[in-house]
């Protein structure tokens, strides 16, 4: 089912958290709301599931306007960050609760619980209580509870935040599998870009209550609209160089190096610019030579990570296949692929 937020605004008292936000999530799509904490992504999620009411604007599920409907009548499934399992109920009662409150016959509930728990692979745990489950199992119970009444939309609020690294990897693909199998429209709230990129069809990056960009993960990575987006995606993160425009080229702060860039042809001289270079675009290959000193070197097993300090003191990060000829303190002359560099205006807009 399609979800549409139309000019959605939310304030708490005098603090405006979100103003006139438009967002459309296609039917069967999984969308990530990605952003740093405090950007309003959880507020958006709470408004969609009806725990908060929008200050203004509309929320539509399909063609149905649910703006002022209470949560109980919205048919949404939510997986909370803490899972919010009911501690005094068994797994079976937990999963069956959404059906129990609708007064479905006990037999039907039992059948549906059996189905859904098989789907999330916890059918052997039905008699236990939440306290007797591991984090991953609790997560699956929460998923099963959210899915059992076939909601119009599945909302996931930082679902992986409380899991350890290995389980996180496992649950990532698990949630995606379930979403695909059930064909449900899903919204994932997260501050982890890896989660967002690996699990979702599209990502909406939020900052201070606004959506900065909505795109597929690869589009967003390769074509960020602002410096914020470019900085948020990618691990290790992108490096930024400060400088000026000078006759179709980027000139670093102290004028030490010059980078002719096609995209700068129409930019007036002297305009302050920021250059963003992803670590994989700075290394042995490329069309522009940059000289610097290795200030930090770290191996990650398959790859090595280097920080190179340039003459003006700014730092470029580089990631390369493992090599052992470069040491801390060495002077290096590495290349940069100029077509892969992003140029941002002073306000962060991509040029």
């Amino acid at each position: 089912m399609r979800i549409l937020l139309d000019k959605f605004s939310k304030s708490f008292g005098n603090t405006k958290v979100i103003e006139a936000m438009d967002l459309e999530v296609g039917s069967g799509e999984m969308l990530a709301l990605l952003g740093p904490s405090g950007c309003g992504k959880s507020t958006t999620l709470f408004a969609i599931c009806g725990i908060h009411r929008p200050t203004s604007g509309r929320i539509l599920f399909g063609e149905r306007d649910v703006t002022s409907l209470p949560s109980q009548e919205r048919n949404v499934g939510v997986v909370f960050q803490s899972y919010a399992l009911y501690p005094h109920m068994t797994v079976e009662e937990n999963i069956g609760f959404p059906l129990t409150v609708r007064r479905l016959p006990a037999g039907d509930i039992k059948k549906r619980v059996a189905e859904i728990s098989a789907l999330v692979h916890i059918d052997n745990l039905l008699g236990r209580r939440p306290a007797q489950l591991s984090g991953g199992q609790q997560q699956r119970v929460a998923l099963a509870r959210a899915l059992i009444r076939r909601p119009d939309v599945l909302l996931l609020d930082e679902p992986l935040a409380n899991l350890d690294a290995k389980l996180r990897l496992e649950m990532r693909s698990e949630i995606r599998r379930l979403q695909k199998e059930t064909g449900i429209t899903a919204i994932l709230v997260t501050h982890d870009q890896v989660e967002a990129m690996s699990m979702c069809d599209r990502i909406a990056i939020m900052k201070e209550g606004e959506i900065v960009q909505i795109a597929t993960p690869s589009e967003m990575y390769n074509d960020p609209r602002t410096a914020f987006v470019a900085g948020f995606l990618g691990n290790p993160p992108i490096s930024f160089l400060k400088g000026k425009a000078l006759s179709g080229a980027f000139v670093s702060g102290d004028g030490n190096f010059r980078l002719p860039l096609g995209s700068l042809r129409d930019i007036g001289d002297g305009r302050a610019l920021t250059l963003g270079i992803r670590p994989e675009h700075f290394g042995p290959k490329g069309d522009l030579v940059i000289e610097g000193k290795v200030a930090f070197a770290e191996t990650q097993g398959r790859e090595n990570l280097y920080d190179v300090v340039l003459a003006d003191g700014s730092v470029l990060r580089s990631i390369q296949p493992v090599r052992d000829d470069v040491k801390l303190g060495d002077c290096v002359r590495w290349n940069l692929s100029s077509e892969a560099a992003f140029v941002f205006a002073e306000d962060g807009r991509r040029l």
């Binding site: 009806g50 725990i51 009411r53």
Partner: protein, 433 residues
């Protein structure tokens, strides 16, 4: 918004109603009663007009004539009396002659009236004379009049002509119901008894609070802290007993300890000391035990509060201080006590109010005695309004005494709310529906 609001109002209604009926209304009524002179004598539901000997005495100084006049019986030969006489079916001549010869006559005493009756032609017997004279008795002394008009009307019939302001005064002095007055507060402000009770209360609260509710509680909390947990919880359980034990039994045990056939007397008897009632033989002993009785109860709260505060101090602080060479006393002085500042303030505030209001233990042990040596404010309110030897329960004065406590309580608790940052205790609901 609507659903949770409606549900909220429905769910809080029973509590609100109960608190209103049995808490707020009594508080307001206490204020109202404090402004009246209600007592057993006046009743609580209005009164009548009655010329009592007391009222006559009060009228004496200003209106001596009236006072002596209404104190005397009056006998009036009137139609009402004659009708009653006829109804008695004695000799018909009596009524006829009285109507013919004496109608309208007023006699200042029974003797004068009876002289006239005895002189009737039909010669009534002595018994009949008495019977007849009763019918014409129109005295107001000790007669009850339902309204003021009835009282004044009767007085006029008896020949007392009163000016309006005199009528007011008579009505006021003869009214037996309660009236509005601020006398209660004047009594409280001026009576030396009240001053004594005030000092008693201050002494009782201050000493119990400092010695037991704080100091002794602190002692218990600190000593149990330096014990293995199992032993500590036994001691804490023992010291919680006074609070958990019903007050009647608790005080009974103290009586057993202190009375002349009790433990102390018997124990001292072994050394030849004659038995006596240690609880009530003199004011010093009475105070000693009153404070002990209340202090043992009061210590438990502080003990628990302080114990949990000490438990909240990170163990590393203790370890570090010991490594740094602190003695036990220094550890208490520099590690424990500084952390207990707020709990001590809290217990002090809280228990001040509790002690001000408490009187069960004193009532059951010394009843405020010997004399009124251990009478405290709340007990005085109870004695004045609900239970005293003279039997005249002065609800109005008692309510005024109670009102002072209520006002002190409200003021103190408002201050405490400020001190203890009450506003941090309310959080906004996170669900908007």
């Amino acid at each position: 918004m609507r659903t949770s609001r409606t549900l909220g109002i429905v769910m809080i209604a029973p509590a609100a109603i109960m608190i209103f009926l049995f808490y707020l209304m009594p508080a307001i009524l206490t204020g109202i009663f404090a402004m009246t002179n209600m007592s057993t004598a006046t009743g609580i539901s209005g009164g009548v007009f009655q010329v009592t000997q007391g009222a006559v005495n009060r009228l004496g100084p200003d209106m001596p004539e009236l006072a002596s006049g209404i104190a005397e019986p009056r006998f009036v030969i009137d139609e009402e009396g004659l009708a009653a006489l006829e109804a008695l079916k004695l000799k018909p001549g009596y009524a006829a002659e009285l109507r013919g010869q004496h109608i309208g006559e007023v006699f200042a005493s029974r003797r004068e009236a009876e002289r006239v009756i005895k002189a009737l032609k039909d010669r009534p017997s002595t018994r009949e004379v008495k019977q007849i004279s009763d019918l014409f008795n129109r005295s107001v002394l000790n007669t009850r009049f339902e309204t003021r008009d009835a009282l004044i009307g009767n007085l006029e019939k008896l020949g007392f002509r009163l000016k309006p302001e005199e009528q007011d005064k008579v009505a006021r002095e003869t009214y037996t119901g309660w009236v509005w007055t601020t006398d209660n507060f004047k009594v409280i402000a001026n009576s030396p008894d009240m001053a004594k009770i005030f000092l008693n209360t201050a002494f009782y609260v201050a000493v119990t609070l400092m010695l037991f509710n704080v100091s002794y509680a602190l002692f218990l909390a600190v000593t149990t802290h330096y014990m293995p947990p199992a032993t500590a919880s036994i001691f804490r359980a023992v010291w919680l007993l006074p609070r958990i034990t019903p007050v009647v039994i608790y005080v009974l045990m103290w009586k057993w300890l202190t009375w002349d056939n009790g433990f102390i007397s018997m124990f001292m008897g072994q050394f030849g000391v004659p038995p006596k009632n240690y609880l009530l033989d003199n004011a010093y002993n009475a105070w000693f035990f009153v404070i002990l009785i209340n202090g043992f109860i009061g210590a438990s709260m502080g003990m628990l509060v302080f114990s949990s505060a000490i438990k909240a101090i990170p163990q590393t602080h203790f370890h570090a201080s010991e490594v740094d060479g602190a003695s036990r006393w220094q550890q208490i002085r520099y590690i424990i006590l500084p952390q207990l500042r707020w709990p001590i303030l809290f217990v002090t505030c809280y228990q001040t109010l509790s002690l001000l209001a408490s009187f069960n233990e004193i009532l059951l042990s010394t009843r405020g005695g010997p004399g009124r040596a251990t009478e405290v404010w709340s007990l005085a309110a109870y004695h004045t309004a609900l239970n005293n030897y003279t039997g005249n329960l002065e609800y109005g004065l008692g309510a005024a005494l109670a009102l002072m406590l209520v006002i002190i309580g409200v003021i103190l608790s408002l201050i405490y709310l400020r001190i203890f940052r009450y506003d941090t205790l309310i959080s906004k609901p996170l669900i908007e529906d």
